[in-house]
């Protein structure tokens, strides 16, 4: 057999087939069949008529939106200040924000739990707030880094050009820095929003017993309802697809200009 560059792709193709394509086919199969293996739309209709699943979907969206917003509100100023300041030890400060990622996730959340218990007395009083705090704590670095990267790469002469053309500092920020940091914001959002929809471990550890998408899927599978669970996973996949497509234009731009994605 002649060895070509294509041959090098074979392991990757095999990997994709085994871990992406086949599971997806299986997912589709289960989502659109019933226990007897017959085609059915009952699972799909069931998802959108069952107040429980819909409630979970909206609760997940709510948590994800709140987490993303809080992350963005904290991360943008931090990233902006870090990227534009002339601090000598900038790398150390960035490291401080990134370092929590090196520590085991459950350990961090356990520590957070203790702190929150100390402040609130009983975690059960503010389950939603606690969940958002937990998620924000967990995902914040993923928001800071892409935004920091985009702002740091921004040509400082662009800001000077805006100032030169009569814009004051506020307008130069609004018309130049902010629009040009959108690729970083988009990367940040897609790295925070999607995981926040499903990361039920944070909720579990912080004693929030309300289901989000991740926990709902888990519960279906542990109750051996593979068909219902697959449909929920598929709907979630659909939401993610729509979301990614909406952000698509930006990401393309991003890839062209060197990218803000980590």
């Amino acid at each position: 057999m002649k060895f070509s560059r294509k041959t090098l792709g074979i392991p990757y193709a095999l990997f994709l087939l085994l871990f992406v394509v086949i599971p997806l086919i299986v997912l589709f199969y289960y989502a659109f069949t019933n226990g007897q293996g017959q085609f059915t739309l009952k699972n799909l209709i069931g998802f959108f008529t069952d107040p429980n699943t819909l409630g979970t979907l909206f609760y997940s969206l709510l948590i994800a939106i709140c987490t993303t917003l809080v992350c963005l509100l904290i991360a943008y100023p931090v990233a902006y200040i870090l990227a534009t300041s002339k601090l000598k030890k900038k790398a150390v400060i960035i490291m401080l924000f990134v370092m929590p990622m090196w520590i085991n996730f459950s350990l961090r959340i356990t520590a957070l739990k203790e702190i929150l218990t100390l402040i609130e007395g009983n975690l059960a009083y503010h389950p939603f707030l606690n969940s958002v705090i937990g998620m924000t704590y967990d995902f914040l670095p993923f928001m800071i880094l892409p935004i920091y990267n985009t702002i740091a790469k921004l040509d400082p002469f662009l800001i000077e050009a805006a100032r030169d053309l009569g814009a004051d500092e506020r307008k130069a920020f609004l018309h130049v820095t902010l629009p040009l940091s959108v690729p970083g914001i988009v990367s940040g959002i897609s790295m925070v929003f999607l995981p926040a929809m499903t990361n039920y471990v944070v909720l579990d550890m912080l004693y929030n017993s309300t289901y989000i998408m991740g926990s709902l899927i888990g519960s279906y599978f542990s109750a051996y309802n593979w068909h219902g669970g697959s449909m929920i996973a598929l709907v979630l996949l659909g939401i993610i697809c729509v979301f990614t497509l909406l952000m698509g234009g930006q990401n393309e731009e991003d890839a062209r200009t060197g990218g803000a994605v980590l």
Partner: protein
């Protein structure tokens, strides 16, 4: 418009000191309304800093910038009626051409119709009609440059600042843009302040050239003045090709240099040390008998318009531009008309630097001991039993109160590659060199911030890391009161 201010902008006693040690000291410049002024100098000479202070991106540490007689030195850039064309254009990538050009007008809250009209007009001016909707990334470098110029000009600034705007273009495009910029300047009547390191660009376009080096103005003048009457060796060397020789005045309008006697037109007192500058095109090749000096042709290079002929005359090297060729190895004579010789009074290049007396009452510089007798230098002192210096009254001298200055001539300093050698007093980097006919004159930046001027007959490279050897017997010490 007030007529009282013939000068649209005046920089008065401007100083700017940066954290990294670079500084611009006591900078003075006046620009007349409608002038095309070029600030010319090698990179790192402070020309861009000057421009940035006029634009408002850098604030001067000291001094005033007067625009129409009013001090604007502390105003932010958006409050100044000047606009800048940046070196790498700095066009906004998220806006199309129309929005880029309209940016400044929108800040002024101008009516939409008016903005559209003005953008259309300025696009015509830069030959980009109908480009409004195009995105920046579809444009070539030259077109981006035109948009950058249009974006600045549309605001009708009182002064247009251009920071090496043609640096990123290829040669042909650069030549075209030079002519177009000059035409725009003549058409609009706006004052242009142009920064470049390209002497040819400066000579072609400017009404006035400001030559800068090391944060100081070397000369201000018309292109003709700068070329024909350079005020010092730096300007002569930087603008065009030059033969530069050290020499001495031997009589009224008579000078001796490069091994010959020359008649000149500059009246400098007899006996004065001088630097003579001769442009290569002002030297004529003759028969050996007719020449004021003689030499052997060492190389001939055809340059299209002329031949560049190098002649070795004794220990001097003479570069000549001639339309007639010569044969390598031939003995030739050379003559120069009196008005082809430009005489400058030689600058005093003696290196002067402070040295310290350390706790042990020994002289040192850069942490290295200088073996010289301090008792002879400081009158009335002697060493006591602890080998400390004491004065007539037997009091031990305080090293803090003794300031000693050392001086050494450029030709007495030697350079070496071996920076760790024992006799190396200080290390440094070659930051500048000028060929002076029979030797090179180098400027060495040292880690102490002290610059040394060193004459050496051998060619070293710019940026070379070298050690300086200062023979102790050649250093003259003096006590500063």
């Amino acid at each position: 418009m007030e007529t009282a201010h013939e000068n649209i902008i005046e920089l008065k006693h401007i100083s700017k000191i940066f954290d990294d040690g670079f500084s611009l000291l006591d900078f003075n410049l006046e620009v007349k309304r409608g002038e095309f002024v070029t600030i010319l100098g090698p990179s790192g000479c402070g020309k861009t800093t000057t421009l940035r202070m006029i634009a408002g991106f850098d604030l001067p540490t000291e001094g005033d910038i007067l625009l129409n007689g009013k001090d604007i030195s502390q105003l932010p850039p958006n409050m100044r009626p000047v606009n800048t064309v940046f070196q790498r254009y700095a066009l906004f990538p998220h806006m199309n051409i129309f929005d880029n050009i309209a940016f400044g007008l929108k800040q002024k809250k101008m009516a939409k119709d008016e903005i559209r009209k003005k953008v259309k007009k300025v696009l015509e001016l830069v030959d980009l009609e109908g480009f409004e909707k195009r995105s920046i990334s579809t444009l070539s470098g030259g077109q981006q440059q035109r948009v950058a110029i249009a974006r600045a000009l549309v605001n009708e600034p009182e002064i247009l600042l251009l920071d090496e705007p043609l640096g990123a273009l290829d040669l042909k495009m650069r030549k075209e843009m030079q002519i177009e910029l000059k035409a725009m300047h003549d058409e609009l009547g706006i004052t242009f302040i142009y920064v470049t390191h390209d002497q040819e660009e400066a000579l072609t376009m400017s009404d006035k050239i400001v030559v800068m080096s090391k944060g100081k103005i070397q000369q201000i003048g018309t292109p003709e003045d700068i070329y024909n009457e350079p005020q010092n060796a730096f300007v002569a060397d930087f603008i065009g090709e030059s033969n530069i020789f050290n020499g001495i005045m031997t009589g009224p309008m008579k000078a001796r240099f490069a091994g010959g006697q020359f008649q000149c037109v500059d009246d400098v007192p007899e006996g004065t040390q001088i630097t003579a500058v001769i442009r290569p095109e002002d030297i004529t090749i003759t028969t050996p008998a007719e020449g004021q000096i003689r030499g052997r042709v060492s190389s001939v290079i055809f340059k299209g318009m002329h031949y560049e002929i190098t002649v070795q005359s004794g220990r001097y090297e003479v570069v000549i531009q001639s339309t007639r060729s010569a044969t390598v190895g031939d003995l030739v004579g050379m003559t120069v008309e009196p008005d082809g010789i430009h005489i400058m009074i030689a600058e005093d290049h003696t290196n002067v630097f402070p040295v310290d007396m350390n706790r042990d009452h020994k002289l040192e510089f850069n942490g290295k001991k200088l073996r010289t007798s301090l008792t002879q230098l400081i009158k009335g002192t002697r060493r006591n039993e602890d080998n400390m210096l004491v004065n007539e009254n037997g009091e031990v001298l305080d090293p803090e109160k003794i300031h000693i200055i050392a001086a050494i001539e450029p030709m007495d300093i030697r350079m070496t590659d071996d920076v760790d050698a024992e006799d190396v007093l200080i290390e440094g980097t070659i930051s500048n060199l000028i060929y002076k006919g029979d030797h090179y004159s180098y400027v060495i930046n040292t880690e102490l911030g002290q610059d040394f001027i060193v004459d050496d007959e051998y060619l070293w490279n710019l940026g070379d890391q070298i050690g300086l050897i200062l023979p102790i017997e050649k250093i003259r010490f003096s006590l500063k009161k």
